[in-house]
């Protein structure tokens, strides 16, 4: 076994904490955008994932994702964390991939990814998702969709990993995976009452900006932590992440300004997130100023992609599809162009560096994720919808999720005592 390195461990533990912090960050990012009667519903759906998904991850999720079990899925060897405190290394994590950190640190780090991924979906279904149905969907989706896809891509034994598809920190596993599930879900539950006729403006952009700040901060753990060590690769992934977020903010704002006449605060926030999404698969494989290009492209494309929902008529409340599905695909495919073996010897060369196979592998990875997650998410959604129900009643929707689902009110700023 390779020695445990305290510096690498310190960075991965710090990164795990940062990634955990992203889920509250996401909760604020999303809940700031909904109307004031749906705020707690949104916050709850995100925070609840920190509870339910974490428990499921420990019990079976991790084992299914990283257990020894061929290319398609892990096994139950590690169910309930069995052996993980003492095991020397995980299946497939040998040679170049040998961990230099405690296995439990890796388990905890990966857990935070599992927590936030399904939470990403909730932005699309905002203002109408029934809490009881959501909890069921969440549990099933984590086990039946997230764990297998994580195995395919992240585990050195996964078929996509073996095939050579690259995903440094979760472009496919996290963003495309959640993005396609979001699309399926909005098709199953339908539009919000009044959409797109009624205006549904954000109730608190400062809250959304808070979420943006936390997400940007946490994303360093998400991407640079994926180096699983405190080394040159981590530094590269760190600066790449920041560059892409910055360039994407500018890209988004420029188009927005040109098309709408204003550079908006929500645009700056959305652009940054789009860039962070796109750089996620690339963070440890690209160098130089490629991240600026990737970010700028993502900022522009994701902004334009928002129009799709109006054109095609699906109600993606907070544009999860435009930002995470589209942004994830943009990043995964641009990696096929910008990937540079000089940056990471365990990577591959993209088209710009004379490598031709990588793009194929990326296309396969994207296609496989979209197909698998799309189909299974649809089955789960339908199943839950016909049994528990995935959508609140019209009265509950009008009253708001906060009161109807949680018997709470988000703000009571005085005025008339009630």
């Amino acid at each position: 076994m390779t020695e445990i390195d305290t510096g690498n461990t310190a960075w991965v533990l710090a990164s795990a904490a940062l990634v955990l912090f992203m889920t509250p960050g996401l909760a604020f990012f999303y809940s700031g955008m909904v109307r004031s009667k749906h705020v707690l519903g949104m916050l709850m759906q995100n925070f609840f994932s920190m509870g339910l998904v974490s428990v499921l991850w420990v019990l079976v999720g991790f084992s299914l994702a990283f257990g020894d079990g061929g290319g398609w899925i892990g096994n139950f060897d590690f169910a309930g964390l069995k052996d993980l405190a003492t095991i020397e290394n995980l299946p497939g994590y040998t040679g170049d991939f040998a961990l230099t950190i405690p296995v439990l640190a890796f388990v905890a780090y990966q857990m935070m990814f599992a927590v936030i991924t399904p939470a990403l979906i909730t932005g699309a279904t905002a203002d109408r998702l029934k809490f009881a149905g959501y909890t069921a969907f969440l549990a099933l989706w984590l086990v039946l969709v997230y764990s297998p896809v994580a195995h395919w891509v992240f585990s050195p034994n996964g078929w996509l990993f073996k095939r050579g598809a690259l995903d440094f920190a979760g472009g496919t596993v996290v963003h495309i995976n959640a993005g396609i599930a979001a699309l399926v879900l909005v098709l199953v539950i339908g539009k919000r009452r009044g959409w797109p006729r009624e205006a549904m403006p954000p109730h608190s952009l400062p809250l959304t900006l808070l979420g943006t700040g936390i997400l940007w901060f946490g994303w360093f753990g998400f991407n640079a932590g994926s180096a699983l060590g405190a080394n040159g690769l981590a530094a590269q992934a760190f600066i790449n992440t920041h560059m892409a977020a910055a360039a994407a903010m500018l890209g988004w704002l420029v188009v927005e300004r040109i098309k709408g006449g204003h550079a908006t605060t929500l645009g700056a926030a959305s652009g940054a997130v789009a860039g962070l999404v796109a750089i996620t698969p690339c963070a440890g494989f690209v160098g130089g100023i490629a991240p600026l290009a990737i970010g700028a492209i993502a900022g522009v494309v994701c902004f334009l992609a928002i129009q799709l929902k109006f054109k095609l008529g699906y109600d993606d409340s907070l544009d999860v599809i435009a930002v995470h599905l589209v942004g994830g695909i943009v990043g995964s495919l641009l990696l096929g162009l910008f990937s540079d073996k000089a940056v990471n010897s365990l990577g591959a060369d993209g088209i710009f560096f004379g490598g031709s196979e990588l793009m194929i592998d990326q296309l396969v990875a994207v296609g496989a994720t979209v197909l698998f997650s799309g189909v299974v998410s649809f089955i789960i959604a339908k199943l839950v919808d016909v049994t528990i129900g995935l959508r609140v009643t019209p009265e509950q929707e009008t009253e708001g999720l906060d009161l109807s689902q949680h018997a709470e009110v988000a703000y009571q700023l005085g005025g008339v005592p009630r």
């Binding site: 009624e198 009008t398 009253e399 009161l403 018997a407 709470e408 009110v409 008339v416 009630r418």
Partner: protein, 112 residues
């Protein structure tokens, strides 16, 4: 002239406004109020403690208009605001002795 005051359900304000514009009204004033009446409020729970809230959010719409239009406008509001569910609200009319446009000092109907 008369002042028509209507208490309506918040989500009905848009329809009421549209209907009043339809009916030729060029201005109105809306404000947030809390209503108490037959329509029961709701219950909130915080750490196991239940609170009953009797007040229901409503919107007050005020329109000053000529005597001649009052009856018609009241009907317009009734038609645009009602949902046939308890809590649709009330409309009351009071007499206005003088009406002035601040910008010009115009009085009465001219100020409308």
């Amino acid at each position: 002239m008369k002042l028509i005051t209507a208490i309506v359900k918040p989500f009905k304000l848009d329809d009421v406004k549209a209907a009043l514009q339809e009916a030729g009204i060029e201005g109105m004033t809306a404000s947030e109020v809390q209503g108490f009446g037959r329509q029961r409020g709701h219950t909130e729970v915080y750490r196991g403690a239940e609170y009953t809230v009797d007040f229901v959010p409503k919107v007050r719409v005020e329109v000053v208009t000529n005597d001649a239009d009052v009856a018609r406008l009241v009907e317009v509001i009734v038609n645009s605001a009602h949902t046939d569910k308890i809590g649709d609200g009330k409309i009351w009319v009071t007499d206005v002795e003088s009406f002035t446009r601040i910008r010009t000092g115009e009085q009465g109907a001219d100020a409308l």
